[in-house]
Amino acid sequence: MVEDRSFTGRLFAALNFTLLAIIALITVLPFIHVVAGSFTTSAELAASKFVLIPKVWSFEAYKFIFSTNTIFKAMGVSIGVTLVGTLVSMFLTSLMAYGLARRDLDGRKVVNFMVVFTMLFHGGLIPTFLVVKELGMIDTYAALIIPSAISAFNMIILKNFFQNIPEGLEESAKIDGCNDFGILFKIVLPLSMPAMATISLFYAVTYWNTYLTAILYLDDSAKWPIQVLLRQIVVLASGLDHSATLDGVVPPPDQTIKMAVIVVATLPILMVYPFLQKHFAKGALLGSMKG
């Protein structure tokens, strides 16, 4: 955009900038408040209300939440499900996306339609639950991964990306005696790193944020991922129903402790974010333009 140096142009730009700055600030302030609050004492939090940088530093809340095994265990489940799930999803998704990206494949239109149709219509919660149950997956970690292993949306993004790779490359690989698996793993995937990084991030975030599938398919609280535990500690204990507090007798945990659990449940995503941000913005654009 060429600069507009007139008075109204400058005024417009200044207003626009200020407004956006305020909006961006509002977006991050709640989280900063929670992070800062988790690193201070309950007394300090109660006294100074809004904390952006703690005056009194304290790791009490973290010491408390890590004093039992519960959080460690839930973190372990979440990390495991995220790693394994992302690998499984990426493997299945890229195989299918590549197959469907090849224009000379008979029947690809039918399969494509089958995939798109699932985005428009589905059997719903109970029938899906019954299928998972029939497969004997209740109370297994597999239930957190397999029933949501492929996202139709992600598959289509990746397929569109693969379609943009020049066919000539594949042809020449074929002449050199490469079969389709070789073409995919040696040529197409290395050329698709931005898209692969993006889709991996999408899957990883979904698995890390797993909540619905966990409350649907896991009755055993020992298998809970961190998100379910977070709800148990913060949402249910926020003085809603007396019956819903942790055990009915235990008083709701301190604000600082709740904040610390929120931070722990959010941290992994925030750590990955800066590394992948460049990729995913680009990759999401590629996908959304064609999608």
Binding site: N16, T27, L105, I126
Partner: protein
């Protein structure tokens, strides 16, 4: 001679057809590894997406888990009839439609406005910083979003209530007061999704020919006029496409978010189809009835998408499919 050519011309298509068949067979054999690649994914969609669609028939049965779909009794439209005669259901339907409306009328325009604002920023440096900050909440789960707002609005020690007291107002019980459910819901939706929603609009704005703006400036158009006459018309197609998708999916977006906000005090306004299907179906074991409700919802969603898609095509836009 004539007969021969006539014969030849009738024989030709037959020959070609068999040749084509052969070629298809050859092509399929040559691409066998591609089919192997597609197979696991296809199997996934059949088992976890199409089998549940088959499972919808239990909404015409009195499904008993130990009898299975084959052994359960058929009851025709019983569950659907119950659905429309139950006042509970009408209230749930109303709640669902209200949240749907909030999403369409309040949330939907915000990413468009944000994208237009971001696009008007001069420096790329700040644009990138603002974008990065605005994207972050999208990566937080609903549990995290709801948790953050709960620690902020809680009566004992929540920052919002502290501020209310500081400015001389009464404390408000945001969590248990039914009239605060909808505002909290939509504010959380906006906070989490508005920034991320700008990506697609920014991409289509970036594809606009800069010459158009130059021409408009020559004609004396200011910033606002350029936005109105060039940027918005240029992204109209994307807006319509996303609008269709939103209409189709918004009935589905609720569960996690609403379920987390739901409690015994705000049930009257907060219970939606998804949360009801979960409690009635899995908690109370009314499999067939709640499947019927889910079925009803999926069909409405499909009809909505197809209708809006048709309308957008009539208006000369591309549509989703």
């Amino acid at each position: 001679m004539q007969e021969v050519t006539a014969q030849a011309s009738t024989a030709q298509p037959v020959l070609e057809a068999s040749k084509n068949k052969n070629e298809v067979r050859k092509r399929i054999w040559r691409n066998r590894w591609l089919y192997v690649m597609i197979a696991p994914g296809l199997l996934y969609f059949i088992i976890f997406k199409y089998l549940p669609m088959y499972g919808l028939i239990i909404s015409f049965q009195d499904y008993k888990p130990y009898n299975g779909i084959m052994g359960s009794n058929w009851v025709g439209m019983k569950h659907f009839n119950r659905l429309f005669s139950e006042p509970d259901f009408l209230n749930i339907l109303k709640n669902t439609i209200v949240l749907f409306g909030l999403n369409i009328f309040i949330y939907f325009p915000i990413p468009i406005i944000l994208a237009l604002m971001l696009n008007e920023l001069r420096g790329n440096f700040f644009k990138r910083i603002f974008q990065s900050l605005l994207y972050i909440p999208h990566f937080m789960s609903w549990v995290i979003v709801v948790s953050i707002s709960f620690v902020m609005v809680t009566m004992d020690g929540g920052i919002i209530n502290d501020l209310l007291v500081f400015f001389g107002f009464e404390k408000i019980n945001f969590l248990l007061n039914p009239s605060w459910f909808r505002p909290m819901y939509i504010i959380q939706v906006i906070w989490r999704e508005a920034g991320w929603g700008t990506i697609i609009y920014l991409a289509s704005i970036a594809a606009i020919d800069p010459g158009l703006y130059e021409a408009a400036r020559m004609d004396g158009a200011g910033r606002l006029r350029q936005i109105w006459h060039i940027t918005i018309p240029a992204i109209r197609g994307v807006i319509i496409t996303l609008f269709i998708l939103k209409i189709g999916s918004v009935l589905d977006l609720g569960f996690e978010h609403v379920y987390l906000l739901l409690n015994s005090m705000n049930r009257e306004v907060a219970e939606i189809i998804d949360t009801y299907v979960y409690t009635a179906g899995l908690r109370q074991g009314q499999f067939s009835y709640s499947t019927a409700i889910g079925f009803f919802k999926s069909v409405i969603g499909l009809i909505l998408v197809m209708t809006v898609n048709k309308i957008s095509k009539k208006m000369g836009e591309e549509g989703v499919y």
